[in-house]
Structure formats: structure tokens, C-alpha cells
């Protein structure tokens, strides 16, 4: 597989796409604002002195609703795609997705626990509700991934195949535990759980955004530094070791970054499928398998895809809203198929 486009062209293209998606995400929504108002409000948010007359609504919609939502979309999309690359590199399998090491199912288990147990205990105070849910999801994802990693280790070595199987087993186990919570849940709790599983960028607020922004910025800055090692790993574990790569340390880092990034993303926005699996694929089809390009390009592509999907989620049924998990697959899967078919011809 070779690159269809030069890295420089790719980055310019994806950069423009990402900026465009960001602008659309800020400018469009169920409330239609005049373009000029949106522009002026955006400038005001950047700290430029712009007259305020008649701008209150635009500023509120832009600053309190659309901007946090857009930032959330950028962070979640970027970090999910990045974790996808890390997992596909680790397992040397293009079918790998971040769910394989149990982080998604662990987070789902944590969330189900928070939702069902929270409502059974008479409900957590409203102000803490979202934080408890996010924290439980994050810890659940981290916990299950740590367990999968531990199970994959033998004699100081991490066996990727064992880890894969342990991941499948623990995913099944968490799945049945979630099923049990579902069974115990009452009608209203069940609905909350279902919607959480479909993911949403709805109701993003700065208070819940900062932890995710920090984590995803950290992961997005750290993982590209491992591009050469990931390239070496493509040849095989022992080959990479002979090339001077500390394979054990690399595996540990990849798993840790994925658990951290996906855990934080899922905690903030619920389960959003498809991005982690297919965005790296899409980029690889266009740009080839070199991780030096693949890693940063996936961040841009994942962020753009998620923002565009969110735009559809917001606008398709306005004033109601679709869960974004439905949209990502609905947009992404046909596009992916198109690339596959075109690539074969």
C-alpha cells in the first residue's frame, strides 16, 4: 500500500477540512444566526473589541453552547482516531479498535454502575451527577484495560495474542454485567443508559471539558513521538527489538495512552463507535501506512468527521437531536465502502 497523495498535500487538505468543520460547527445550528453576528461574536470570544449591540443572543449561543460543543467534538474525534491507530499498530491488525483492550466495555460498565446504582441510592445530587458518571466511566475503562494488560503479561513479556483474548473475555464479562444492571434498572434509568450508549456531544460545558482537553492534548502530543517505533513494530516484534526498539515499553505506552484517551472521551461524550476503527483505515488508504503521517493525519480526520457528524445530528431532526453514534456510522460506513471498492478497481 503506497501513498495516494503526498504528506504535505494531505496535511493541507485535512487542515482545511478541519478548519471548515470547526467553522461550520460554530456557525450552524437549530438557531439560525446571521453570518455577520456569528462572525462578530466569534471575534468577541477571541477577545477582540467588537461592539456588543444586539449581540447577546449570538454570544450566548456561540460561547455557551456551540464553542464547548465544538471543542468537545474536536477532542473526542481526535483522540478516538489516534487511539485507533495505536491499537492497530499494537496488534498489527487493521481490524483492531480501541474496544479490543476493554476500555470501551469497561467504561460502559462504569457508566451503567453509576446510572443504575445512582438512581437506586436515591440519586446523586444533581450538581454532581454528570461528574460521578464521567468519573465512573473513566475509572471503569482504566480498570478493565489494566486488567487486560496484566493478564497479557507473562515472564516480564506482554503477549499480544493473550491480551487480545483476555480483552474479548473481559468485554464479554463486562457486557453481561451491564446486562445485569440493565435488568435491574427501572424504565427511566434504562432510557438514560440506552442514550448514553449511543453517545452525544449534547450539553457540553466548560467545567466537564477541561479534563478531556488536557488528556487528549497530552495523548496527541505524546503518541506521534512513537511513530518510528510503531513503524518498526509493523515488521514484527522481534524485528522491532533488533532495530533497537524497547518493545515492552512501547506496548505499555500504547495501552496506557489508549486507556487514558478513550476513557476520557467516552466519559465526556458516551460511546461513539466507528471513529476509532475506520478513521485510521481511511487515512491509511489515502496516505499509506507510515505512522509519521498516519498519527497526526488521523487526529485531524477524526476531529473533522466527528464535527461533521455532530452537525448532522444537530440539524437533521431539529429542534430534536439524533444520538451522534448513529450518525458517525451512517456517514462514515458508506464513504469507507466507496474507498474500498474504488481501491480494488
Amino acid at each position: 500500500m503506497t501513498a495516494l497523495v503526498k504528506p504535505r498535500t494531505l496535511f493541507i487538505g485535512l487542515g482545511v477540512l478541519c478548519l471548515l468543520a470547526t467553522w461550520l460547527s460554530l456557525a450552524l445550528g437549530p438557531v439560525s444566526l446571521p453570518l455577520l453576528d456569528t462572525l462578530r461574536a466569534a471575534l468577541r470570544l477571541l477577545g477582540l473589541p467588537v461592539a456588543v449591540d444586539g449581540l447577546e443572543q449570538a454570544e450566548l449561543i456561540l460561547g455557551q453552547i456551540r464553542l464547548p460543543r465544538t471543542l468537545l467534538g474536536l477532542a473526542v474525534g481526535g483522540v478516538l482516531a489516534l487511539s485507533g491507530v495505536a491499537m492497530q499498530g499494537l496488534f498489527r491488525n487493521p481490524l483492531a479498535d480501541p474496544g479490543l483492550v476493554g476500555v470501551s466495555s469497561g467504561a460502559a460498565l462504569g457508566a451503567a454502575f453509576a446510572i443504575v446504582a445512582g438512581s437506586a441510592l436515591g440519586g446523586v445530587p444533581e450538581a454532581f451527577g454528570p461528574y460521578v458518571l464521567s468519573l465512573c466511566a473513566f475509572l471503569g475503562g482504566l480498570g478493565v484495560t489494566a486488567l487486560v494488560y496484566r493478564l497479557g503479561r507473562r515472564n516480564g513479556q506482554t503477549h499480544v495474542a493473550t491480551m487480545l483474548l483476555a480483552g474479548i473475555a473481559l468485554t464479554a464479562l463486562s457486557g453481561s454485567a451491564v446486562g445485569l444492571f440493565t435488568y435491574l434498572a427501572d424504565d427511566a434509568t434504562l432510557r438514560t443508559l440506552t442514550f448514553w450508549n449511543l453517545g452525544s456531544l449534547n450539553g457540553a460545558s466548560y467545567a466537564r471539558l477541561w479534563p478531556l482537553l488536557l488528556v487528549s492534548a497530552g495523548v496527541a502530543l505524546w503518541l506521534p513521538r512513537r511513530a518510528r517505533e510503531l513503524n518498526a513494530l509493523l515488521l514484527g516484534e522481534s524485528e522491532a527489538a533488533h532495530l533497537g526498539v524497547n518493545v515492552e515499553a512501547l506496548k505499555r505506552e500504547l495501552v496506557f495512552c489508549t486507556a487514558l484517551g478513550v476513557g476520557a472521551a467516552v466519559a465526556a461524550a458516551g460511546m461513539i463507535g466507528f471513529v476509532g476503527l475506520v478513521v485510521p483505515h481511511l487515512v491509511r488508504l489515502v496516505a499509506g501506512p507510515d505512522h509519521r503521517v498516519l498519527l497526526p493525519a488521523s487526529v485531524l480526520a477524526g476531529a473533522s468527521l466527528l464535527l461533521l457528524a455532530d452537525l448532522v445530528a444537530r440539524l437533521a431532526l431539529a429542534p430534536a437531536e439524533l444520538p451522534i453514534g448513529i450518525v458517525t456510522a451512517f456517514i462514515g460506513a458508506p464513504f469507507f465502502l466507496y474507498l474500498l471498492v474504488r481501491g480494488r478497481a
Partner: protein
């Protein structure tokens, strides 16, 4: 001419006055929660509604309004795009961060309790009446409602003097062939009690039930609360799929009833008393029909 000017002045004064009193009360309403939207309509607020959630299905005309989606999963911008002055909903409405965003945009957000009892309803109606400027109507509506429920109670007590309370099971959502049975603590359970039925289910919440234990309970009456199961044909199909279900006493005697599932959501609604009357009539068939 002078008279004319005076008349115009009077008209203007009247208009301004009316305008002033109307400004104090919210004129553009969004309502989330089936029963609550029904009450808003019953109190004459239907023309003020500019949007409702997916659980607001009655009266029929509400379905033509823009839908803001499911009440627990509202979108701040979606609601704001309807330019409402007030958003009313039950405590189930959310998520909380979205409500906070809507509030910060200057929209009045009013939460109502969905607890199914009369004191709650009295408070809710009073509150709605104040917000709609129809307090007198609200008080009247409540009095009539209370009277209807008292009559209902008397009816049940009287019927139980002559006949034993029938064992009832209420089934919802059997899309997968396995019906969910309404247990203790559900609004369905409360409804059955009010109608004078004895709920045979002993578990809490809505649980899927093995058909075998369902047959073992052998209910006298089956109540279906599911849109997919309305109509003879759908029920016939269900009985065909679950032969054991059709061997219950209820199925043999043809005592199978329907209940509008929207009655089970969002507290006491205005259509409740009438449904209770119908359920009670089904639970306690008229004596003369069974007398020799």
C-alpha cells in the same frame, strides 16, 4: 370628530392594557411530559405551545407541533430555536447541563413533580394556572378531577362488595414476543389498584416474565398497554406465538383489555378517570350478565 378621537384613545388604552397584562405571562410555551402537556392544553394553553416532546401525544393536535425529542435528551439550541419564553416539564426532563444552558439564555424553566397522587396534582395545576393566568379554571379542574376519583373509589368499593377483585396482569412492550409485566411500584400497578384490580405480579418495576410463570399465575384479566398490541389481530398473533398465554383464564373468558400506554407516563393526566371507569367496568362485569 372629538368623539372619534376619544374612541380611538379608548381603544388604544384597552390594547395597551391588554398588552401589559399579557407581557407578564409567558406566551410561547414548550412542554415536555405527556400528562403535563395535556394539562396545559386543558387549561387553555394549547395555542401558546410552540413545541412539545415525544411523549406529548394528546390531544391529537399536539403531534403537529415541532418535536424537541425525548424529554431526557433535550438539545439546548433546539429548544432555543423555538424562541420559547417558558419550558415546562417533569423532573424527568434533562440532562441538567442542557437545562442550565436554556436557563442562562433567559428562558423560564419550570419543573413539575410526576408523583401520581392528588396533592401533587393540586400543586401542579395551581402552578400551571398561575403561569397561564387561568387559576380559577385550574381550581375547578382539580375539584372535578378529585370528585371523579372519589366516585371511582366508591364504584370500586361497591363492586368489591359483590364480586371478588380479579387477578390482573398488565403487559407492555412485547415486541420480541416476550411481554414485560408491570410489577409493584410502577405507575401501572397504581392504575390497576385504582381500577380495583389485584396485580398478581410481585416483583418491582417492569420485568420480562417467563410465559410459564405467567400461566401459573393464571390471571382473570389481561391488560395490554402497548401500541403494537392494539387491535384483535395483533393480540391473536401474540396468543398464537405463546400458546400458554392463551390457556390462561383471561384468554379463555375473553377478558383481555387495552390501555393507552401514554397513561403510564408522567403522572396523573386528564384522561385518567375515564380510563379507570373503563377498566373497572371490565374488571367487574355487570351482575345481570352472569346471573342465572
Amino acid at each position: 370628530m372629538r368623539l372619534n378621537i376619544r374612541a380611538v384613545a379608548l381603544c388604544v388604552a384597552l390594547l395597551v392594557n391588554q398588552g401589559a397584562s399579557a407581557v407578564d405571562l409567558p406566551q410561547r410555551w414548550v412542554s415536555a411530559g405527556g400528562a403535563l402537556s395535556e394539562w396545559v392544553s386543558a387549561l387553555g394553553g394549547e395555542s401558546k405551545l410552540v413545541g412539545v416532546d415525544t411523549t406529548s401525544q394528546h390531544p391529537e393536535s399536539l403531534r403537529a407541533l415541532p418535536s424537541i425529542g425525548y424529554q431526557r435528551q433535550l438539545s439546548a439550541e433546539g429548544v432555543l430555536s423555538l424562541r420559547p419564553q417558558i419550558l415546562v416539564g417533569t423532573e424527568e426532563m434533562g440532562p441538567p447541563p442542557v437545562l442550565a444552558q436554556i436557563r442562562s439564555a433567559g428562558v423560564q424553566v419550570e419543573l413539575f413533580s410526576a408523583t401520581p397522587d392528588l396533592p401533587t396534582l393540586r400543586g401542579n395545576l395551581q402552578h400551571l394556572g398561575q403561569l397561564l393566568g387561568t387559576e380559577a379554571e385550574a381550581a375547578q379542574l382539580f375539584d372535578r378531577y378529585q370528585k371523579q376519583l372519589t366516585q371511582q373509589h366508591t364504584r370500586v368499593v361497591e363492586a368489591q362488595r359483590k364480586q371478588k377483585a380479579p387477578g390482573v396482569l398488565l403487559l407492555v412492550g412485547s415486541s420480541g414476543g416476550k411481554p414485560l409485566v408491570a410489577g409493584k411500584g410502577t405507575s401501572a400497578d397504581w392504575l390497576l389498584q385504582q381500577a380495583g384490580g389485584h396485580n398478581l405480579a410481585t416483583h418491582g418495576g417492569y420485568k420480562s416474565f417467563s410465559v410459564e410463570s405467567l400461566a401459573g399465575l393464571n390471571p382473570d384479566v389481561l391488560v395490554f398497554a402497548d401500541r403494537a398490541l392494539s387491535g384483535e389481530e395483533a393480540r391473536a398473533a401474540l396468543f398464537r406465538e405463546n400458546p400458554i398465554l392463551s390457556s390462561t383464564r383471561a384468554a379463555r373468558d375473553g377478558r383481555v383489555m387495552e390501555l393507552d400506554p401514554t397513561l403510564l407516563v408522567g403522572g396523573l393526566g386528564p384522561r385518567l378517570p375515564q380510563s379507570l371507569v373503563e377498566l373497572t367496568a371490565g374488571f367487574y362485569p355487570v351482575e345481570s350478565a352472569t346471573a342465572p
